[in-house]
Amino acid sequence: MSTAVDAATGTPLPAVGAAERRTSRSLWRRVLAQRPAVIGLSILGFLVLVAIFADVLAAYDPEKSVIGTEAAQFAKARAAPCIHALGCPADRPEHLMGLDGNVIDEFARVVFGARVSLLIGFVTVGGAILVGLVIGAIAGYAGGWVDNALMRLMEVILAFPALLLSIVIVTILGAGLLNAMIAVAIVAIPIYARVMRASVLSVREQDYVTAARAMGDSPIGILVRRVMPNALTPMIVQGTLGIGTAILEVAALSFLGLGAQIPTPEWGQMIGREYNNIQNAAHLIFFPGVALTLTVLGFNLLGDGLRDAFDPRLTR
């Protein structure tokens, strides 16, 4: 959304150039003034780093058992964590979070899980936003019965408890990570469609949109350059909160055996496979559980912070 593009089309903008840049910079400052947002950003920054450097951090393959590569007396299913710095004998191979039920290094799985979960969150919400944008734009532009039909459909989707509708959709599509993501995305579409439709309706009759239309801008051009900037703020806030929810729901589906399948290192699936062994292998619940909670907490804190920063009523 740079000014160069708009200069090229030669149409006037409601808010242009330096002023726009200045507000966005002060917005950024307002976000950073919120303690929760900063904590959220730090958590997410840490997770992104873990996801990027997963190969460096993990000494073991997250999908291969250590049987055969390690002495048989150590390579046992659900072995407790062995940390040399905390007094684990040096002749034992080090496994920071122990071994899981398939004798795979749990630390490697938790670390690679960050990559899987962040990917799940961004792809799921990205897909939902994309479809939501299209539906909301069509509904807002077309009006009449098209608008009515689409928005009633969105209302019906919202009438189901989210996890339950995704469960039903996955039973139809078949268990699997991609299908779980599709199911969670479908359930999330209405939120973004509503935001987009509201933005379209709020600017449709504005003078600058009429002006752009008079100057021969295509409907798509108007949508991208005049309507979308208005929808951007609520989209960012909803999207940030939505990523946390999406990760949570895919994890819940995986926990139930409907999402990610073995050997994909996905936290919900890891917990789901081992929770019956909580008596003797609590570490297999604890570490992925903490990772999952931390990720969702990060997105929630950042989303709340963004919402407060963008809310004009909360100027301090």
Partner: protein, 360 residues
């Protein structure tokens, strides 16, 4: 007011119909032959022909929809392949557990959530406030199944053998040795039959109520002990949301002119807080409580699975693993309908509490 209620009722009819139609579409798009999907291993050519004729699969789609709507309205949700009995029967048997669980979860959420919120708001920016809001932030972020397992580990594994140990993972609803019988039997009405008996049996399945009304306090306490961890795990997310909403709403109200007037009159702080503040701060809290019931229904699937409570949620997960589609869809439809009705009631109560919401 009545006009408002009627208008809201009418407005929710399309949504209810939409829910039924969506489930109908979902049932039809199951890959493979619906006959084998519904009948499972019992499917053969003869049975399939009979099955297809019965549910009208040879008819055009609109006719099929009509048949399906009729089935739903006559409470015929098909037959469970897993249990070999009507889905509605199964629902009636499993529902009491879920009602009990969500009731205690909601009770926990409201009592603890509102207390935390009031405490935070009345001591803004104190250590209590910061601590409560940290709990609330963590509470909305921790997945139900992670919290449930952490609680189970703490109270059933770590504290095992101590008096405060509680039943943990897959513990079910009662300890071994405890039996439950219908309230009708306990009240000496063994021969009762028909709808009254069915209603009594339904209520009997809520063990804490059963224990209470039949004066079997051992049963009551054992059932309660089994309910504590699941209820806390399930109720934590709404608890956190209620706490945050109570705090922000109360802070907003306490800054209004009439609260200042009340203070200026010389009323004590507590009177101002509860009489003038809390009363008016309750509106958004009521909405949040109503809206969180949908989350409770979703969370019940996970909570019941972990703790082995044989309610609606556990039945759904069992049905998924044994590909019992009739149960999955029938139960999903039921829960969605409950959800719509609860939202409707929330809306109406909001209109009742705040006249401004009512359209004149």
């Amino acid at each position: 007011m009545i006009q408002f209620i009627v208008r809201r009722l009418i407005a929710s009819i399309p949504v209810l119909l939409g829910v039924v139609i969506i489930v109908f579409i979902l049932v039809r798009v199951i890959p493979g032959d619906p006959c084998t999907a519904m009948l499972g291993e019992k499917a053969n050519a003869e049975r399939c022909a009979e099955f297809n004729a019965r549910i009208g699969l040879s008819q055009p789609i609109p006719v099929q929809l009509g048949i399906y709507l009729k089935q739903v309205f006559t409470l015929d949700l098909g037959t469970s392949t897993m249990f070999g009995r009507p889905v509605t029967d199964l629902l009636a048997q499993r529902l009491p557990t879920t009602i009990e669980l969500t009731f205690y979860a909601l009770l926990f959420a409201i009592v603890v959530g509102m207390s935390l919120g009031i405490l935070s708001a009345s001591r803004r920016n104190s250590a209590v406030d910061v601590g409560s809001m940290m709990v609330a932030n963590l509470g909305v972020s921790i997945p139900v199944f992670v919290l449930g397992l952490v609680l189970a580990y703490l109270f059933a594994v770590v504290l095992k053998g101590t008096p405060i140990a509680l039943p943990g993972v897959a513990a079910g609803r009662l300890s071994p040795g405890f039996r439950f019988e219908s309230i009708a039997v306990a009240w000496g009405m063994k021969d009762l039959a028909g709808p009254p008996r069915a209603v009594l049996d339904f209520i009997s399945n809520m063990y804490t109520i059963n224990g209470l009304v039949t004066l079997q306090f051992g049963l009551l306490f054992d059932a309660l002990r089994h309910m504590i961890l699941p209820a806390v795990a399930l109720g934590t997310i709404p608890m956190a949301i209620i706490a945050r909403m109570t705090r922000s709403s109360l802070l907003e109200v306490m800054g209004l002119d009439y609260v200042r007037t009340a203070r200026a009159k010389g009323l004590r702080g507590r009177v101002v807080l509860f009489r003038h503040g809390l009363r008016n701060a309750m509106l958004p809290v009521v909405t949040v409580i109503g809206l969180s019931i949908g989350g409770l229904l979703s969370g019940a699937v996970l909570t019941e699975t972990i703790f082995g409570l044989s309610g609606v949620g556990l039945t759904i997960t069992q049905a998924i693993t044994s590909r019992d589609y009739a149960v999955v869809q029938g139960f999903a439809l039921f829960v969605a309908l409950v959800y719509v009705v609860v939202n409707l009631l929330t809306d109406i109560s909001y209109g009742y509490l705040d006249p401004r919401v009512r359209p004149s």
